[in-house]
Structures are given as C-alpha cells and as structure tokens.
C-alpha cells in the first residue's frame, strides 16, 4: 500500500517535470522557428545596397525607413529620457511614499494603455487638432508616451537599489539632496538607468500601431522638419510589403524585419553586458 503510493507520487513527479520541460521546449522551439524564419529569409533577401537606396516601386531599399526610424527614436528619446530619468529621481529621492506610490502606479497603468489607443490619441490631438499633420514630432511624441514609463521605472528602481548608507554619508557631508543625487547616488545607478533607456529604445524601434496614424509614411529620406512632413519607418515596411504580391516586395519586408531584429538583438546584448558588469562591480 505504502509502496504503491510512493510509486504513484514518484510517477506523478516524473510526469510533472516532463510536462514542464516540454513546455519550456515548446517556447524555445517557437522562438527558434521565428528567429530562424526571419534570419533565413532575411539573409537570403538582404543586400547591403538596401542601406543606401530609398524605397521605390515594389521594393527598392530601406534607407528612408532606417533614417526615419532613427529620427523618430532620437526625437522621442530626447523627450522621454529627461522626463523619465528626472521623474524617476523625484519618485525615488524626493517624493513621500504615498506620492511615490501614486506616481508609480499610474506610470504602470500608462504602460498598460494599448499602443493603438496612444496612436489614436496622437492622431486626433496632434495630427488633426493641433494641425501638425503626419509628422516626425507627432510620431515621436506617441513613442515618448510608450517609452516614458520604462525609463521612469528603471531609473527609480536602480536608484532604490543604491544603499541608504551612501545617501546618509552624502547628507552627512553637508550635501543637499540635489547634490547627493548628482554627485554620489547616480553613479552606482547609472548602469541600470542606461539599460532602461536602451530597452525603451528597443521597444520604440519595434512599434507600429502608434505610428500608423501619427508619422504617416514616406518613401523619401526624412528632412529635419518636425511637422507637416511624413516620415518612413522600418516596421511599416514589414507590415505593408509582406501583403504585396511580388517576391521583391516580400524580400524588402524580410530585410526590414531582419534589420530590426538584428538591432534589437544587439541592444539586448549590450543591456546584458551592462547588467553583468554592474553585477560584477558590486
């Protein structure tokens, strides 16, 4: 009787662990298949010349989309990084725990707002009401709203991890909170803050829905104009050119996805390296 029960429990454990391993394998297999599909098709269709030609006709190149993506990311990070980093400093260093809780919570709520709703908001408000037209600025601000919560949250949590003793030491030297933050506390948190900004860039790179109705689409290289000029971006090519009935259009879509994936992969590796380095330092 006892023996049977023990056996049953053992078998149950075996089944449990097998299912768990299978589940992990399924996740890894799906990821591998996706990465393989994009890499294989991407390598087959990607040409270096695509980096220096603009999209035209049924295919062409990616230059306009790459530069446009870059411009949108730079614009949005110029707005989102100061807002997020300074906001994170406030939440961690200045705010009372109640206010910090409220801001933290609402920031997380903002990160839960569907990106298409942010795009719709951008269209109604910036493109139409403020009359900016489809433009880099409208797209950049839509991306800002998406990036901001990540930067603020990672900044805040990196600062929170700095030991209280360091703050007390700084205050004890007669520093104001401002001086303490800018001279002492930011140093150990810098790695964390940088990963937050980088991850926000990776997220911004991959967004489509908020840009469809704010940035528009252009087959020309972006000008520096902030408003009234449409701007191209990589995800648009993936989305629209895979729908076309030509092989060369599909090749362009695969190439765009390939470039995107490579850049995002690179950012993730850099983030890992930073995390590893700061972990070693501690």
């Amino acid at each position: 009787m006892m023996k049977q029960r023990r056996k049953r429990r053992k078998v149950g454990g075996c089944i449990g662990w097998t299912v768990a391993w299978l589940a992990a394998a399924l996740v890894l297999f799906s990821l591998a298949d996706m990465v393989y599909t994009i890499l294989w098709n991407g390598i087959k269709s990607f040409r270096i010349s695509m980096l220096f030609t603009i999209t035209s006709g049924n295919a062409g190149g990616l230059e306009n989309a790459i530069l446009g993506t870059l411009y949108l990311i730079v614009l949005s990070i110029i707005i989102a990084a100061p807002l997020g980093i300074l906001g994170g400093i406030y939440v961690s260093e200045f705010a009372s725990s109640r206010i910090a809780g409220v801001i933290r919570f609402l920031t997380e709520v903002l990160s839960g707002v569907p990106s298409i709703v942010i795009g719709y908001f951008g269209y109604l408000f910036m493109v139409l009401r403020w009359g900016w037209g489809f433009s880099a600025l409208a797209g950049g601000i839509a991306l800002t709203i998406i990036m901001l919560p990540y930067i603020l949250r990672t900044t805040e949590s990196s600062l929170m991890q700095v030991p209280m003793a360091q703050r007390e030491a700084a205050w004890g030297l007669g520093m104001t909170r401002f001086q303490a933050v800018t001279k002492v506390i930011w140093r150990p948190a810098a790695g964390g803050i940088a990963t937050g900004v980088l991850l926000a860039v990776a997220i911004g790179l991959g967004e489509t829905a908020p840009l469809l109705y704010t940035a528009g689409w252009s087959t020309y290289n972006p000008s520096l104009a902030l408003t009234h000029h449409q701007i191209g971006y990589l995800t648009y090519i993936v989305w629209s050119y895979i729908d076309m009935p030509y092989t060369e259009s599909h090749a362009l879509a695969y190439s765009a996805a390939f470039v995107l994936l490579m850049v995002i992969l690179f950012i993730h590796l850099v983030v890992r390296a930073i995390v590893q380095r700061t972990m070693v330092k501690h």
Partner: protein
C-alpha cells in the same frame, strides 16, 4: 560641519520642482489620453447608448445618401455601431491565448527557477526576454508566412477531429486567418511576460519553506505544486492578468492574422475575427470619410472600451502582483 549655502539650497529647490514636474508627466499623459478619448466618444455614446455594447452591426450608413438625426446626433442614414463582434473577438482571442500561455509559461518558469543553473539559466532567461522584445509586426510576419498556413493545412484539420465532441472545433478550417491563429500568436507574445514574472516570484519563495517540504518527505515536484505555487498564487494571478491586458491591447500581429471579420460573431475556432485594437487601426481611414464624423467618434468609444478593459485588468494585476511578491520587477515589457 560645512554650511549649506543659500545658492545650493535654491538649486535643490529648483531641482526638486523640475524633477517633480517630470515625474508628473506620465500622469498628465494618462489624463490627457483619457480625456481626449472620452470627449471624442461622447457623440457615439449619445447616438448608440448601450446598444454599442450589444449590437452586432457596424455600419457607417449610406455615406452617399442623406443624413438623418437620431438622439440629437446626425449621421448617414442607416448608421449603427454595434461593437459586440469586436468585443467578443478581443475576449475570445485573448482567452484562447491565456488558455495556452498560462500553463506553458508556468511550467517554463518552474524550469527556469528550479531546474537550470549557471550559464544555462542565463542563456534561457535571455532567450525568454528576447522573445518579449521581438516587435509585434515580426510576430505578425511569422504568423502570416508560417503559422497561418500551418493552421490551415495541418493543425486545423487535426483539431476538427475534436469537432465531433465540441462543436466549436468544427470546420471548415478556411485560410488559417482567424480566431485560432490570433489566439496562438497572442499566446506566444504573452508567454514571456507571464514566464518572467512567475520565475521571479518562484525565486522569492523562501528556501526554508522548500526545505521544509523536502524534510516532510515530499518529492521535488510535490514541493513545487503544494508549496511553491500556492505561495505565489496571488502574484501569479497578477502576472496572468498582466498578460491578459497585453493580449487585449495587441494590434499589429492580430491585425495581420485575424482575417478582419465584420458584423460576424465567431461560430467556430476557425472563424475570422476582429479585435477592438485591430478595428481601430484598420477602420480609421474608412471612418474619416464619414462627413458627420460619427464613425470617428464610434472608434473613439471603441478605444474607450478597450482602454477601460485593459485598465481594469491592469489595476487588478498590479494590485495582486504587489500584494503577492514584494514589488517584483520583471526585466521585460509588461
């Protein structure tokens, strides 16, 4: 002791105000989005009332015909906005995603937390985080060229055998674009969110509890099932709700594989569907050809409903995650 100069005191104050302003910016954005979406949806709320949530016809009306006035709002004759098919599409696809993703993610998290160590663990964790970082159009691309054909030719016909027992699995399978593919792709997208959060929660289970279980003669698996999982239950439900919110709000991947159904409630798991998010992306240009702008307002109301749904699940999720684990932070987008 060094004396604090008045200049640095002022600098401190200025800095404090500046950071405070920055910290309030997410709140301002949130409020602005809420207000704009609500104001834009008022005419549609007046026009449709509760029928917006129960109607199944999404009809811009006869745009080349005459206008008519109903409930004080003018619209092309015959216009009616019933969002039920999109609400059902959103809920159905996200629930299918959850049914698949939750067990897979929990099992994967158990493996990541308890079964692998050292470099293997690091590599697997990176891979899961990478999955979370893949853009949704890339998921959509994969859905169009790999998943939908696979569903149409292999997985779908296989599932139709279940149709004998469960009518919802009955064919025809069609092109593979529809509810099943949408659910599968969403599942894949939310697995990393649930996995990462669950893994962090599981790692926080005090070692004493687990050792206690072993000491009582439990097998490894029993420790996981009877001690660890109950311990993280609240946080787990929170992680699931978080994934659910993401699945409901996802746009591009679903738009690419959903089959863009209109006026149609799914009859089977192979039916084409549309979700609220996909309809907003897909129909805004149609809506703008409505001279009365009612269609734009109707889409705003759809955005409002979607926002409320995702916010409710998010509120729930944050509350449960915070209560469950002490402010668990996952390294992925959540």
């Amino acid at each position: 002791m060094r004396k604090v100069s008045s200049a640095s005191k002022t600098a401190d104050k200025v800095f404090r105000v500046a950071t405070g302003l920055c910290a309030s910016s997410p709140v301002l954005f949130l409020v602005a989005i809420g207000i704009v979406v609500f104001i834009e949806s008022v005419p549609s709320i007046k026009f449709m009332g509760w029928h917006f949530l129960t109607g199944t016809q999404w009809n811009l009306g006869d745009m080349y015909g005459n206008l008519e006035v109903k409930n004080g709002v003018s619209a092309p004759a015959g216009a009616t906005y019933g969002a039920l098919p999109y609400i059902v599409g959103t809920l159905a696809s996200s629930v299918i995603a959850l049914l698949i993703a939750v067990p897979v993610a929990i099992f994967t998290a158990i493996i990541l937390a308890y079964r692998v160590r050292g470099p293997v663990k690091t590599v697997l964790s990176i891979l899961v985080e990478l999955l979370a970082g893949i853009p949704s159009v890339v998921f959509g691309l994969w859905g169009v060229i790999v998943l939908a054909p696979w569903v149409a030719q292999f997985f779908g016909p296989l599932l139709t055998h279940l149709g004998v027992v469960i009518p919802f699995f009955r064919g025809p399978v069609g092109t593979g674009m529809g509810l099943l593919s949408s659910g599968l792709i969403l599942a894949l997208m939310i697995v990393p969110i649930i996995t990462a959060t669950t893994r962090d929660l599981l790692e926080q289970v005090p070692i004493l509890y687990r050792e206690g279980g072993i000491g009582l003669g439990m097998t490894n698996w029993e420790v996981v099932r009877k001690i660890c999982l109950p311990y993280v239950k609240d946080g787990l439900i929170g992680a699931v709700a978080l994934g659910w919110g993401r699945a409901m709000g996802e746009t591009m991947a679903v738009l690419m594989v959903s089959g863009s159904a209109i006026n149609y409630l799914p009859h089977s798991i192979f039916s084409p569907i549309s979700t609220m998010a996909a309809v907003i992306a897909d129909q805004l240009d149609s809506a703008l050809t409505d001279a009365t702008h009612l269609a734009v307002h109707a889409l705003a109301e759809l955005a409002l409903v979607l926002m409320l749904l995702t916010l409710i699940t998010n509120f729930l999720a944050r509350w449960l995650v915070h209560r469950g684990g002490q402010r668990v932070r996952s390294g992925v987008r959540a």
